[in-house]
């Protein structure tokens, strides 16, 4: 399938230092869980898209992703995370997708930075130019898109080794700040929890986002008691659950690394 990038598949490769190749930092502001200061949730009924550019930015992004033009889908996710903290917080959601598309397509040589800048300048002079072409009827790309909407693109893979943990096991998350994409949020690093689910092996986003291979690992749902994560600030009985890859976890009592 497309989004996970068939071209990227192959034998697992070791994790190199992705910061040498990418401007990336995982401890960026997209990792929002537990922060204060954003105020009340603005819960308003709104249309799915607020402007026509949002509708097209959404659809364009996925059509490009399905063709593998971003590399693996995790690379597109990571591209949003590395747009810069200040811009991240002040950008509209689909603006983040647009920004990621611009950056990835230029980085990967699909578009030239100069041709993109020139096209933008031409449109700033005359916004009516370069209108989207009318549909010429169903085509192969549309069939591919329809098939992926229906069938998805599962990141589940055959497991190379048996799972290290079982449901019920107490675990501790590793405390680390890798320079790259990860799915272990800051608020749950170095925290103790318990395995409550096992989902087989899944592509490891930490390597896949950087073109370093799928390196599938067992994926577990881990339950963290609210008091373990937040101490006195926990607002009552409860827990937060996260889906975490095996290399994020140590057995409780194992030396923390």
């Amino acid at each position: 399938m497309f989004a996970y990038g068939a071209a990227e598949r192959g034998p697992p490769r070791p994790i190199r230092d992705p910061a040498r190749r990418y401007d990336c930092a995982v401890n960026s502001v997209h990792d929002l869980g537990g922060m204060h200061g954003f105020g009340a949730v603005e819960h308003a009924e709104e249309p799915i898209f607020h402007a026509d550019w949002e509708r097209r930015a959404f659809a364009n992004h996925l059509v490009l992703a399905f063709q593998g033009l971003y590399g693996p889908l995790d690379a597109a996710r990571h591209a949003v995370e590395r747009m810069g903290n200040e811009r991240y917080l002040t950008s509209n959601y689909y603006e983040k997708w647009l920004d990621a598309a611009e950056r990835l397509l230029v980085e990967r040589g699909v578009l030239g930075a100069q041709e993109l800048a020139e096209r933008r300048a031409a449109l700033e002079r005359d916004a009516g130019r370069f209108a989207r072409p009318a549909s010429a009827g169903p085509d192969e790309l549309a069939e591919t898109v329809a098939a992926i909407i229906r069938g998805g693109d599962s990141p589940r893979r055959e497991a190379a080794a048996p799972p290290r943990f079982a449901v019920g096991d107490p675990v501790v998350t590793r405390r680390r700040s890798p320079r790259g994409h990860t799915r272990l949020p800051r608020y749950a690093r170095g925290a103790g929890g318990r395995i409550v689910g096992h989902h087989g092996a899944h592509v490891l986003p930490d390597t896949n986002a950087h073109g370093l291979g799928e390196c599938p690992e067992h994926l577990y749902t881990v339950r963290f008691e609210a008091a373990e994560l937040w101490g006195d600030a926990a607002d009552g009985p409860g827990a937060v659950h996260l889906d975490l890859w095996e290399s994020y976890l140590a057995a409780a009592g194992e030396e923390r690394r």
């Binding site: 949730v41 550019w53 002040t90 085509d139 009552g236 827990a239």
Partner: protein, 203 residues
Amino acid sequence: MSHDHDHHGDAELEVRTRALESLLYEKGLLTAAAVDTLISAYEEDIGPLNGARVVARAWVDPEYRRRLLDDGSAAIAELGYGGLQGEHMVVVENTPAVHNVVCCTLCSCYPWPVLGLPPRWYKDPAYRSRIVIEPRSVLAEFGLALGEDVEVRVWDSSAEIRYLVLPERPAGSEALDEDALAALVTRDAMIGVSRPLAAALAP
């Protein structure tokens, strides 16, 4: 924090979108048919009505409810739903003692086949930052007051597994058929930030 109108206005974003897409159409990497297939799928076909039908079926069919809680993706596929951004779905059930709520603190993960695209507030920093640390306060702001003894389970999803909340069936809905029940099931009830509509509101 307000995101309604950001420092980049719609006019500038229209120009940026058009600049990018026009080059891609010229290179044959976008076609109007492909783009329109996606837009119509998520603007017209795939939305919370799918999830509402799943919930209503679980309310009337105990065997289905068991299958749904045991293997969400498979049971949801029985009703014809599945696919992109919902390849692996888990359904979590509310009870008088346990309330579930779904979020994605890192990005915007959401079960597209059953709920469609996420609402703006789900993707905004206020919800993503607060729902994990103070879920009761956030839910109270949504109008959902929970007893002190109710356990709040937050599911912070991160792409691979997508979560759907199976809300409690409203009191007084015993006489309603499956379609009438589905009409009570709101998107927000399946995210876990509200309860289903009252049975008296059934059409």
